[in-house]
């Protein structure tokens, strides 16, 4: 998968305070990403893997799995923490799915720290493709890294 990864801002540079932005995460899924994700997740809904089927049911073509996009939102949150604490830092994530995203176009996750209290940060996150917000109302709770 072609992965532009996060912007140059490193996890150490994240200011864990209300109003601070998270490093932006941009990913361009390649043509066969939905096939690999279907294999990894078990979700072979044909709208994700069968171009003809997708068009027959009125879609622009194969669309990305919503949970794959949610995994990018999770990445944006955990990579802001970074390091060994990253996987365990994510305590909660909720998203609403709106719109559709397709392979071979960038998906961009942006986020902001809403509050930090008792070592937990509440984040607001959105995933976009072009002008479309495909994940809205993203809310995450992460454990802030040590020494913050």
């Amino acid at each position: 998968m072609s992965d532009d990864a996060t912007t140059p801002e490193t996890p150490e540079a994240v200011r864990w305070e209300a109003g601070a932005a998270l490093p932006e995460l941009a990913v361009t899924p390649d043509k066969y990403l939905t096939v690999r994700y279907a294999g990894a997740s078990g979700d072979f809904n044909p709208i994700h893997v069968d171009e003809e089927f997708a068009q027959q049911v009125g879609l622009p073509g194969r669309i990305l799995h919503g949970l794959w996009t949610m995994a990018q939102v999770a990445r944006a949150a955990t990579e802001a923490v970074g390091g060994d604490e990253a996987p365990g830092s994510l305590r909660r994530l909720e998203v609403a799915f709106r719109g559709m995203a397709v392979p071979e176009h960038p998906v961009v996750v942006t986020g902001e720290i809403k509050a930090v209290e008792d070592g937990l940060a509440t984040l607001s996150l959105t995933a976009r493709q072009g002008k479309a917000r495909v994940v809205r109302g993203g809310r995450a709770v992460v454990r802030v890294p040590e020494a913050n």
Partner: protein, 188 residues
Amino acid sequence: MGGPGAAGYDRPVLVDRSLRGPRRATGHDPGAEPRVTHATTTTAPVGKRYDPVVYALGREKIREYARAVGETNPLHHDVAAARAAGHEDVVAPPMFVVVYSAEAIGTAMFDPEVGIDMARLVHGAQEFTWDRVLVAGEEVSTVMTLDEVRHVETADLTYYVFGATTTDAAGEVVSTGVWTNIVRGAGS
């Protein structure tokens, strides 16, 4: 689980549990009493509790999933790195929950008693909470419940909300989920 659903099947009521309402920090609460605010006829067995589904987390599947979603942290791929960080084996990314829940949510969503028309289904919203990381070699067990069926007349949409609770070998909760699916049209 107390209240409606304790015996597996519920009377046909709708349970209003707002996605944005006040909630416990750990999300889906299998012990909570659902707040019944209105009733509509539905044949779906609101309150139904499905059999536990056991899943064995494997090193190669964790690596495969991590690659598919672009998780490059060595903890997900490199056993030595994971052990140096104090884990027994590679660490599953938190969203790996969708992999170990797949069979459980699939059974619930395809349940003919629920009657979801797959052709009209869209994934509306999703929530997860996590209590601790999981590593390759662990076995977890996921129990699904049909928590809510709500028909919105104005938009002619039916919401199906499933709750999930996953426990480890010691019976401790490791994650919870709220799966919200929307079916266009009157559903069942």
